[in-house]
Each structure stands twice: as structure tokens, then as C-alpha cells.
């Protein structure tokens, strides 16, 4: 037994010296590829919309089409390999997002990854996109050579398409396991940002606009409330749809779910009752005429009167406050030793400031990804694949795209 253990450890150390994983991500809007060494060192991280072939569009969202992924996947992988300074044959495994995401988009990355894996004779590793977001933060912590955060971790993955809370632990042989302890029952937080920005005549994506304008307003001017969400019964094995059977809940059990649909409607209501339509239309026209007025510019701020700035500041204050209460509440309830926040909304400055301050108050460590790794990327896919590579958790040739893939049980 002892010998077996030693040899597997020697093997793992050997792998660590090499351990080049090519990650491919195409679950939603972005085609991305990256090479990560040993789950901790990103040698390259290429995202199609940030490459020169899209420079003409100056930060505008890439076209939402699997055809675009198809066009991008080859140059993006090639760029990732080149920038890493390696040859394609050097990679030890190919990791790819298997879900959740759009079927046609996932299929492009998956098919290409399978072909590469087959052609190179290297194993294929399927990664859950949401798990990738969590590992973006862990990878960067390792890259900074920080002491690893104590487990379990409470992870908030918050973006345009997702708002999830996971309790993350590492089991034997380094395999990670996740428990979904909270999620949105309607809109994602990032979606609320985009829709409110659009309602107010601001640009897309809404996050940077609202984040920068919120600094000029009073966050307590408009009180937004979040409805208490009724706790859900344990999801596994729930028979559908017996609406008459009451959910069996323990006394005092709280829900860590989110709902951002109501605040979007509340903002619309506020706009109507305060007759803001005209000024919103004027702002929309002004921004259309001046595409160079970016979020955070003085010109953009000058387009908003005090009432609008107060509404924006109050909206952001309420959303961040809700994310904070649920995340820290869940961390306490489940005994998490640290918090990681990831996904596009993790780039929000008020969110970072308030999470950091609350974490300091509670003596809990909190970690965020760099801005480049907040939004969708492939380095996080390659990083999340590393523990699977070490434990030999490879995908079969039959690996299929799973648009509604979940992470962990509830």
C-alpha cells in the first residue's frame, strides 16, 4: 500500500512539472482558449472579443451566434498556444466547457476539443462552466503564491446569466465537490443591471455604467425591498408537480435564494411615477450620437440629473446589499471558512468594497478574480480541469454538451 501511495505521489509531482492543460470555452458569447500549467499558472488566456479581429467593434458585444464561435475557435486556440510559447503537442490534456450554456455554442468548443484530443492522443476533460468561475479565483490565489484558503468555501458566482451560491469542498485525492445552497429563482443579478441600464437610456453592458454613475448619487434615496423567498424543499427526488403538498421544512430554515425580477419592475415603476421618460430618451439619443462617451466619463455623468443618479445609486446599493446578505448568511449557516466571488458582476467596485469590509468585520477571508478572469474565459476551465487531471477523471468520447448542466446537488 505504502509503495502505491509513494508512486502515485511521485506521479503527481511529475505531472506538476509538466501539467499543461489547454482549456476551451464557448458556452455563451465568448470564444476563449487558454493554456494553464499545473492548475496555477496561466501561460496564455485568449478571448475572441478582445482579439484584433474584433477591434473594429470597439468593445461591442460579439455577435451571439454559434457561427461566430465556429469562425473564432481555430484562431483563438492557435493564439493561446502561441502566446503560451508551447507547441500543441506539448499539452497534456484538453479541457472544455460541457455546460451550462447554449447548445449550439457549447457544441463548437466541445467538438473542436474532442477532435484535438483524439488527434493529439491526449485525454479530454469536461468542465462545468460554473465550476470554472470558482477556480478562476483559486488559480489566481495560487499564482500569487498565497496560502490556500481554508475549506469549505462559500462561492458566489454572479454574472449576466447566473447567480449561484455554492459550498465548495475538496474531498480525498483532491477532487472538488459542490453543494448548491442558493440561486436566483428568476433573473440573474447581471441581467438586472443590464435591463435597468437600458430602462435608463444607458449603454450595454449595464454594469460599468451603473457602477460608475452610482458614485454620484445617494444610495439611500430610493428604498428598494426584496421579497422574502420561501425556502425550497430539498430538490433531489422532489416529485413534480404536486403543488398541493406543502414543502416540508425545518423550523426557522432560511432561504439563500435570490430574486432580481422585482427590483427591475420597481425601477420601471419609479421611472413612470416620476415622469422620467423624456429625460431618458434625451440621454439615449445623446449616447447614440457620442459613442465615445464611455462609462465613468464626465460627459456620461453630466447626462444624468440628481434624481436619476440617486435612483442608480439606490439600485446598486440594494442589489449589492442583497448579494452580501445572502452570501454572508449562507457562509455563516454552512460554516464556510472563506468566501470567493466570481463572474462578471464580481468586477463591480461597490460589491468588492462592501464584501471586503464585511469580510474584515467577520474575520473571514474573501477573494475576487482579476478583472480579466471575472468574465467568461478559458483559463478558468483549464484551472478547474487540473484536479480532474490529477485524479484521472477523464471524459469519454461520448461527452455531450449539456445546456442545463447543474453544479453539485442542493
Amino acid at each position: 500500500m505504502r509503495d502505491d501511495h509513494d508512486s502515485s505521489e511521485r506521479k503527481a509531482l511529475g505531472l506538476k512539472r509538466e501539467g499543461l492543460i489547454l482549456g476551451i470555452e464557448s458556452s455563451c458569447d465568448e470564444t476563449a482558449a487558454a493554456v494553464v500549467r499545473g492548475g496555477s499558472e496561466a501561460l496564455s488566456n485568449v478571448v475572441a472579443s478582445q482579439m484584433n479581429l474584433h477591434a473594429n467593434y470597439g468593445g461591442v458585444v460579439p455577435e451571439l451566434a454559434s457561427r461566430e464561435h465556429l469562425r473564432n475557435v481555430v484562431p483563438v486556440v492557435r493564439a493561446a498556444v502561441e502566446q503560451a510559447g508551447i507547441r500543441l503537442e506539448d499539452v497534456d490534456a484538453v479541457a472544455v466547457t460541457e455546460g451550462p450554456g447554449l447548445a449550439g455554442a457549447l457544441l463548437v468548443g466541445l467538438t473542436y476539443a474532442k477532435a484535438l484530443s483524439f488527434g493529439l492522443g491526449k485525454p479530454l476533460i469536461g468542465v462545468n462552466h460554473l465550476e470554472g468561475h470558482i477556480h478562476a479565483v483559486l488559480m489566481e490565489a495560487r499564482q500569487r503564491a498565497e496560502a490556500p484558503m481554508e475549506l469549505p468555501l462559500l462561492a458566489l458566482v454572479v454574472s449576466g446569466g447566473h447567480t449561484h451560491l455554492y459550498l465548495a469542498e475538496q474531498k480525498s485525492e483532491g477532487v472538488w465537490s459542490y453543494r448548491n445552497v442558493g440561486r436566483t429563482v428568476d433573473d440573474a443579478a447581471g441581467e438586472a443591471y443590464d435591463k435597468v441600464a437600458k430602462l435608463l437610456g444607458l449603454g450595454y453592458p449595464g454594469g460599468p455604467w451603473i457602477d460608475t454613475l452610482a458614485r454620484h448619487g445617494n444610495p439611500l434615496a430610493v428604498p428598494f425591498r426584496f421579497a422574502k423567498i420561501k425556502p425550497r424543499p430539498h430538490r433531489e427526488g422532489v416529485s413534480l408537480p404536486n403543488k398541493k403538498a406543502p414543502a416540508k421544512l425545518e423550523e426557522g430554515e432560511e432561504s439563500f435564494d435570490f430574486s432580481f425580477s422585482g427590483i427591475k419592475t420597481a425601477v420601471l415603476r419609479y421611472i413612470e411615477t416620476h415622469h422620467m421618460r423624456e429625460s431618458i430618451d434625451a440621454r439615449r439619443r445623446a449616447l447614440a450620437e457620442h459613442p465615445d462617451w464611455r462609462p465613468g466619463s464626465d460627459e456620461a455623468a453630466a447626462l444624468c440629473d440628481a434624481e436619476t443618479l440617486d435612483l442608480i445609486a439606490s439600485f446598486q446599493h440594494a442589489v449589492v446589499g442583497n448579494l452580501l446578505r445572502q452570501a454572508f448568511g449562507a457562509a455563516e449557516r454552512y460554516g464556510a471558512r472563506g468566501i470567493v466571488v466570481s463572474g462578471g458582476v464580481a468586477a463591480n467596485s461597490e460589491l468588492r468594497r462592501r464584501f471586503q469590509s464585511e469580510a474584515d468585520k467577520r474575520g473571514l477571508p474573501v477573494a475576487f478574480p482579476s478583472l480579466a478572469l471575472s468574465t467568461d474565459n478559458a483559463a478558468m476551465i483549464a484551472a478547474a480541469a487540473w484536479p480532474k487531471f490529477v485524479s484521472g477523471d477523464f471524459a469519454p468520447e461520448t461527452l455531450a454538451a449539456t445546456p442545463q448542466l447543474r453544479l453539485g446537488g442542493s
Binding site: A65, D186, R232, K264
Partner: protein, 149 residues
């Protein structure tokens, strides 16, 4: 523009009321396959109504149905129907729409394809089987008109 022979109006006063309407409207929309366009501004209750329909048809719980604005397509499989819940809010062109494969979805005999913001696309409007128009009333009130046939 497609013309319909039948229509029915509904009014609800709460989110719970809109969810409960999933039963009545779900019955109108059966049998599958159907292509249904849901129209109405932000916050009109389109996703809420889909929650009600999916729960009534046993395809998903109300909590499981979330907004597909970013993810574009969600699929929920029930005993008799397969619900495709689409949101075209972020899409601009017919070319983008074409890559979602709505034809393949409708070709499935048990498909109920529910499309938010679908009225902006002629290719869908010309072939839809039903349309649900939703609007804000006073306070939490929502008015709906279902047209089909």
C-alpha cells in the same frame, strides 16, 4: 401579420395570480407542438407566466424556471410536453435567430416553444400558433390577451 380566430383576456393582481394562470393558458396552448410568442415590456410578467405554464404541465417547478435572457434557451421536459423557453431580448438579426435552431425545436411533436421578445422577428410572427400580449395595469395588476386558432 398572422391573423387569429380566437382570443381570450385575463387580468391578474399579483405574481401568484399570474403563476396560477399558467393552468388556464397552458390548456389553451395544448396540444403540442406549438410556437408561442410572448410580448410585453420589461417586468410585464412573461417569465412569471412561463413558470406557471411549466409547473402546470409538470415540466419544472416554478423556482426552476429562470430568465433565459443571457442563456437564450432553456429546456424543460415534462411527461407530455417539452418546453423550450426562449428570450430574444439580446438578439438583433434574423441571422442570429437562425443559429438557435427554432425549426428543430418546433419539429419535435411534443414541443411547446415559448418565445419572449419574439414579436421583433418576422420569421416567427409569420408562423406562430399563438400570441400572448402582456401589459402593466395599476400597481401589481397585469392584463393579458391570448390569441390563437
Amino acid at each position: 401579420m398572422k391573423s387569429f380566430t380566437r382570443e381570450k383576456r385575463f387580468r391578474t393582481r399579483s405574481v401568484a395570480g399570474t403563476l396560477a394562470l399558467g393552468e388556464k393558458i397552458g390548456e389553451i396552448l395544448l396540444p403540442a407542438p406549438k410556437l408561442v410568442v410572448l410580448r410585453g415590456e420589461v417586468g410585464a410578467g412573461k417569465t412569471t407566466l412561463v413558470k406557471g405554464i411549466a409547473a402546470f404541465l409538470g415540466a419544472a417547478t416554478e423556482e426552476d424556471v429562470t430568465s433565459p435572457t443571457f442563456t437564450l434557451v432553456h429546456e424543460y421536459v415534462g411527461p407530455k410536453v417539452r418546453i423550450y423557453h426562449l428570450d430574444l431580448y439580446r438578439l438583433e438579426t434574423e441571422r442570429e435567430l437562425a443559429t438557435l435552431g427554432i425549426e428543430e425545436m418546433i419539429a419535435e411533436p411534443d414541443a411547446l416553444v415559448l418565445v419572449e421578445w419574439g414579436e421583433r422577428f418576422e420569421s416567427l410572427v409569420s408562423r406562430m400558433d399563438a400570441e400572448i400580449a402582456m401589459e402593466h395595469g395599476e400597481g401589481d395588476e397585469r392584463n393579458m390577451m391570448v390569441r390563437w386558432g
